[in-house]
Symmetry: C2
Subunit: 182 residues, 2 copies
Amino acid sequence: MTEVTNGVNVQALLEAREALKAAPEAAQFTWRASAKWQGGVHSTMKVRSFFGLGEEQGHNDEWSFEADHPEVFAAEDNGITPIEYLLVGLASCLTGGIASIAENRGIQLRSVESTVEGAHDIRGILGADSDVRNGFDDIKVTFTIDADASKQEIEALVAQSQKRSAVFDALSNPTNITVEVA
Amino acid sequence: MTEVTNGVNVQALLEAREALKAAPEAAQFTWRASAKWQGGVHSTMKVRSFFGLGEEQGHNDEWSFEADHPEVFAAEDNGITPIEYLLVGLASCLTGGIASIAENRGIQLRSVESTVEGAHDIRGILGADSDVRNGFDDIKVTFTIDADASKQEIEALVAQSQKRSAVFDALSNPTNITVEVA
């Protein structure tokens, strides 16, 4: 076996795959965020607990996030714009996937950097043109990777990461969202 | 006119809507995030610059975000899981929308809190079952709102916020994503 030290415990993931094949109910996770309005379009979100492997789980720390609109939208810029959080999620999901797949394939990574750009016609959210959608027109991700591998092997890593990415799927395919008032 | 102080400059947004009807090229925004792999499935994302109104723009501060997998995934839990960032974005987008629409309708808000839950069968990302998708099965948002308004008016606020939400659209409808290696 090739010894690679990208720092991903691939053996544990392969064991989890086998274990969850036999116990699909343990594979049902629920991720959560809570939000609190701070005035204007500024809000603070907290993330800590989640459910999975049949019981309540949690991150070791509670993480807190600020969202607002920038000053060009006549707001106070107390945090990033909500839609930018989707780009943060996409970049991190693909990056983690690349590291996991590289570990599994015996490819030593030295650096993985990326830029994610989301094109957005804001006439949609402003209600200026009903033919313009509210979300991104499209998203472009560009990776720069230094690794003990050929260009082809690196491209194959990136392709496989997309194929197994939770966030790539969540943004490229529809998900049903229910919104209720308690 | 009703004077409401939710802190949203609705007049500026209404003026922007009219201005951008006449200048659609100024409405073309590009949001950006950059990411750097930190080892394992841990990565750090930075958000600062964006493009819009025909020129480079920026947040006043550079914001930094950590993503990792939790310890139950045999990782180091140095940040939230990438897919959780989507819930942060959704909660903040709907919350900001509610505040903006309330301001426009003359409804004084006292508090807006929400919980977002994303159901996720992780057999997809683990490759344990090819019939299971990688992303969320579904997402549920629950708002608790205290405002000078009837239950019906509050429900109408929440419904209109969904209709104009960039993130709600981005998660409930497909977006084309291109991934390249530089």
